[in-house]
Amino acid sequence: MTRLLKGMLLATTMFAPAGAVLAQDASLTIESWRNDDLSIWQEKLIPAFEAKNPGIKVTFAPMAPTEYNSAVNAKLEAGTAGDLITCRPFDLSLAMFQKGQLAPLNDLDGIKNFSDTAKSAWTTDDGKTTFCVPMASVIHGFIYNKKAFEELKVEVPKTEDEFFALLDKIKADGNYIPLAMGTKDQWEAATMGYYNIGPNDWKGEEGRKALIAGTQKLTDADWVEPYKTLAKWKPYLGDGFEAQTYPDSQNLFTLGRAAIYPAGSWEIAPFKAQADFEMGAFPPPVKKAGDTCYISDHNDIGIGLNAKGKNPEAAKKFLAWVASPEFATLYANSLPGFFSLNSTAVKMEDPLAQEFVSWRQNCKPTIRPSAAIVGRGQPNLDLEMWRVSANVINGSETPEQAAAETQKGLDSWYKPAK
């Protein structure tokens, strides 16, 4: 019996690798935080690649978004990470590149398909080296329930006054919760709130760059103003919004109980799947009619090459495919709301996604202010903004206090280049 067992063990250990070699499969693993997209990768994207590249097997291995960065870092350090690493924009991926964990991709086939703006999120500060292939950006705005708007005979607001008049009207009617947002998870308050409406006040890139240069501070009027507007949202949120989580907000909206959802475009696909009413979208309202509008068009996701990966050749093939217009079309249509960064124009079928992307024509795009350069230190500015935005909406902090706190945190480590 034992002899038989030993024989079997020996056989499996000796012949199993041989079997793998015979098949000549290079297997690639993609590390990612997009667990929502697992089925799309497995059913659409990966088969499309594998059909063209026989012999390369790709596995998509997502994990929880909030744990992704620390987990993937630990894996990279231990040498157990997959060949392909999904890149967060700006400072987080830059840190990986500086540690030598991500390989430079300047000479990758297809990297020319991206403009400098698209690559900016994954390029070194001197602009010389790109280390991730840009995949998609997300746009912030408000998604609304068209049925509710028709019932109440209201129009899409253009200015902030119109926006609050609209909220008053929905609230007076009483059938719908005016705004579906909660503060329990904190990040909604900052991401769908502060980063969403703020660019109109700090004038998009202009303010963001001034903040990095040190000529503006978070305590300046332009940066406090969005907190003041957020504080005014409080009466229009649902009962008990302090304990309302992100999934709660999503469900309130898709069940048709709320009229407006402060959104990011990544919601489009899941909302389409769940809501049985027509949806529309409008960009963050401007202060006065005729003001230039600014939108948060945030480079959100890219993909890079593990510098110590086992199959760099196969991984490069995959990355070149990700950089191709073919992938751009496939990805943008499988995941409406993740807008391709490829220079080749991508035709999107989804009307809601088209609506979001149409704002690019009139409004000036910018990225989230806490993402680049000022997001590098401790305390992390992004997390600080989550916390104070939630506090401001809850009313436990004034807009001025919130701004002062974030600036103090920033001052503790950030010295603008003079």
Binding site: P65, T66, E67, N69, S70, A71, N73, A74, R88, D91, L92, A95, K99, G182, T183, K184, D185, Q186, W187, G238, D239, G240, F241, E242, A243, Q244, D248, L252, S370, G375, Q378, P379, N380, D382, L383, W386, R387, A390, N391, N394, S396, G409, S412
Partner: protein, 316 residues
């Protein structure tokens, strides 16, 4: 050992066979415990004395501890977590243990019907996973889908309902009470066992002396179960200062709102593993873990060397 061989055979002790079986029986538990508890503990203590300098791990002495207590942000986070943890513990001591004792006292009343059923029902939450408990309570207390608002409405208490988990002033108390609900079975069981151990003769003698009912509980039973209450207190202390899971499932790793439910466990988790855009810092995490270890060690020593010696025990 070799001494024995050369010594005078007449005074040599009677040779006993080596008792290898003791070692053999101890080895598995000892090895497993060393591998999963002692080594990681030593490694954590060691890591707290090291830090990354230019991507090299170097020995830095106590500088991590100095940073922890002198950096305004870290120190504020730490004291906030310690203070919350203390409140968490106090609520357990004031609510969980008295209720546990009271339930045990009621269960031990001989005339009580369905005692087994009550005992099991109250103990079941302790056996549930914290994930389930956290999720259930989050749903019950949800202002949107929860049954708490509608149930309170039925008895005309709708006005008293608030999104407790979302308010900084009530969130920590709410989470503590959820934990009390989950773990109240443990003090109940231990006290119940202690009460059953009190010999009938003692109680009968008390009755002959005219001590019955409440005064019997206060004067006879309570002094006899004091050692068990001591054990429960120390178990609660260790459990509370190691707590993490329930806060994590109910309030998330940020332990919101505004850090009001942040206890040492969640602070350690966020520091060690990182969260979202904040990178994990293993050395600082290990430093916090070491401080937690020292706090618990101090508490347990205080109990063992000061309090436990003063508790009188009765032998029957």
């Amino acid at each position: 050992m070799s001494d024995i061989d050369t010594a005078d055979p007449e005074i040599a002790p009677i040779k006993r066979p080596a008792r290898w079986h003791i070692l053999v029986f101890l080895a598995p538990a000892f090895l497993v415990y060393t591998a999963v508890m002692i080594l990681p503990l030593i490694e954590t203590l060691r890591l707290s004395l090291y830090n990354l300098v230019d991507n090299q791990t170097v020995f830095v002495g106590l500088s991590n501890f100095i940073t922890l207590f002198s950096d305004p942000r870290l120190a504020a986070n730490f004291w906030n977590a310690l203070w919350n943890n203390l409140i968490f513990f106090v609520i357990h001591m004031l609510v969980q243990n008295p209720i546990g004792v009271a339930l045990a006292a009621m269960l031990s009343v001989p005339k009580l019907r369905f005692a087994t059923f009550y005992r099991t029902a109250i103990f079941v939450p302790t056996l549930l996973s914290f994930v389930i408990v956290g999720f259930i309570w989050k749903l019950i207390l949800s202002p949107i889908w929860g049954i708490a608002p509608s149930m309170m409405d039925l008895v005309g208490l709708k006005w008293a309902f608030a999104p407790w988990l979302g308010r900084p002033e009530s969130a920590l108390i709410t989470v503590s009470l959820i934990s009390v609900w989950q773990y109240v079975g443990i003090p109940m069981m231990l006290i119940y066992a202690a009460l059953l151990n009190i010999p009938e003769e003692v109680l009968e003698a008390a009755e002959c002396d005219g001590i019955t009912g409440w005064s019997q509980f206060w004067k006879i039973k309570l002094p006899l179960i004091l050692p068990s209450i001591g054990i429960i207190s120390i178990l609660t202390f260790v459990g509370n200062f190691n707590a993490f899971d329930l806060v994590y499932t109910v309030q998330g790793a940020l332990a919101g709102p505004d850090g009001s439910t942040d206890i040492l466990g969640t602070l350690l988790y966020r520091t060690f593993f990182g969260f979202q855009n904040q990178m994990g810092d293993r050395s600082m995490g290990a430093t916090i873990a070491t401080v937690m270890f020292l706090i618990i060690l101090a508490g347990v020593s205080l109990y063992l060397f000061v309090i436990q010696r003063r508790i009188r025990r009765y032998q029957f």
